[in-house]
Amino acid sequence: MSEPRSFEELQRDLEEIITRLERGDVPVDDAVALFRRGEQLYAECVARLQGAELQVEELLPPAAGT
């Protein structure tokens, strides 16, 4: 959780949490903690999608004449 992670990674974590909960062998305390983390990931994913505008970066070719 130190460096910003990609949308895909966040979504993968969310999916992993859901799968663990669905398997149904998580102790109660962990289940609640996992759920909270899942909600956090969901919110983070949604935030990434919403209100984003396409960023365009132009790489300049190295000095002409090559």
Binding site: Q11, V28, L34, Q55, E58
Partner: protein
């Protein structure tokens, strides 16, 4: 064969310039007819001239050779040649005697431009295929949600515009990194290779699209250049080739991880649709809620069952004991001699234990007979052993 005349100065044989040229010409005339390949430059044709003149150039060394062909022969070929095209010329070496210039007297000319390129391409394709560069198992999966999409493009506003518009419409939550480069003509191949390396080396770029609109066969050739094809195959990030139109298959298409017929199709390949992602997220959240609720239900259910078992345990224990006791009683009952007596049997004793044989008693002995209810005292009259 006419003789080449010479003058004589003492013991010196001397040729006039014309005689020299003619003599060389005669020697050249003995050489066999052959084919020469080169690029057409300086094509000069005039209805008033008997001959058509052109210069053939060796593209590798820039060496040149003058060619003449009878205008009528040339016109009959209906070649409509333009400069820069590669041709095969059949003819013999000749010398232009007036100038002493060597040339090729052509009988026919064949355009090989495309044919030659196609042949070379086919050979390169076979070689690279043999190395496994186009193998399906080499193809990498495109990232589902790239952090940034690299776009390698020429000064082709349409291809670039279509691609950026498609990406922006489908998935605005991303970034495009555009690197414009020369994509046709001399030096294009090496320009493409270095632009590709720059894009692939960009820290956020997870996939690169080669976006080059349609063009002539020659225009697209750099995308079949060996260095470009190898760079595509060896690229650190997956590559989508959107070069030319549907019917074109530059070799980079074969080496790329995916191929798109148009820039728009490429856009759809490299980013997901934001609506799909949002739907997937909503579905994920629902599953998350359901899963945690189900987990808690399961835990609650287990707890309740445990509670019931706890409460029931003393009663169960008692019942179990009682059942055991009942079974013991029944077994005891079955073994009781009283049960036998009830069926009409009797136990006969003679002072001590029960009698089993008549010989144990003697006439006059006193016997005790126990019945199911009460007992009798009796005397033995006779003994029958």
């Amino acid at each position: 064969m006419p003789k080449v005349e010479h003058l004589v100065y003492g013991d010196r044989k001397v040729f006039t310039v014309s005689a020299f040229n003619r003599g060389i010409g005669m020697h050249l005339g003995r050489l066999p007819a052959l084919w020469v390949e080169g690029e057409v430059t300086e094509l000069r044709r005039n209805d008033a001239w008997a001959n058509v003149f052109l210069t053939l150039k060796d593209p590798k060394t820039n060496a040149t050779l003058d060619v003449t062909i009878a205008r009528r022969s040339y016109d009959r070929l209906e070649l409509d040649l333009s400069e820069g095209e590669t041709v095969h010329v059949a003819g013999r070496a000749e010398i232009y005697e007036q100038k002493g210039e060597l040339g090729l007297r052509a009988t026919t000319i064949e355009r090989i431009g495309l044919g030659g390129h196609l042949l070379a391409l086919e050979q390169l394709k076979r070689k690279l295929a043999a190395e496994g560069l186009f193998a399906t198992e080499r193809k990498r999966r495109l990232p589902r949600v790239p952090r940034a999409v690299g776009i390698l493009t020429g000064a082709d506003a349409a291809a670039r515009g279509d691609l950026v518009a498609t990406i922006g419409a489908r998935f605005p939550a991303t970034k495009v990194v555009i690197r414009e480069t020369r994509v046709q003509g001399k030096g294009a191949a090496s320009a493409i290779v270095s632009a590709l390396a720059e894009l692939a080396g960009h820290p956020e770029v997870d996939v690169v699209v080669l976006a080059r609109g349609g063009g002539s066969f020659e225009d697209l050739l750099p995308f079949s250049d060996e260095s470009v094809v190898r760079a595509v195959a060896a690229s650190g990030v997956p590559i989508v080739s959107a070069v030319g139109h549907e019917q074109d298959t530059p070799l980079c298409d074969l080496a790329a991880d995916a191929r798109a017929a148009t820039p728009t199709a490429a856009g759809a390949l490299v980013v997901p649709h934001i609506g799909d992602l949002e739907l997937a997220l909503v579905a994920s959240r629902r599953r998350l809620g359901l899963a945690v609720r189900a987990q808690l239900e399961r835990d609650r259910g287990r707890l309740m069952r445990q509670g019931e078992r706890l409460r029931d345990s003393p009663r169960l224990l008692l019942e179990r004991r009682r059942a055991t006791l009942d079974r013991s009683g029944a077994r005891l009952q079955a073994l009781s001699p009283l049960a036998t007596l009830n069926r009409g049997y009797a136990i006969v004793r003679a002072g001590g234990g029960a009698l089993r044989t008549a010989a144990e008693a003697h006439p006059g002995d006193r016997l005790q007979i126990q019945l199911a209810a009460g007992s009798l005292e009796a005397l033995v009259g006779e003994v029958h052993g």
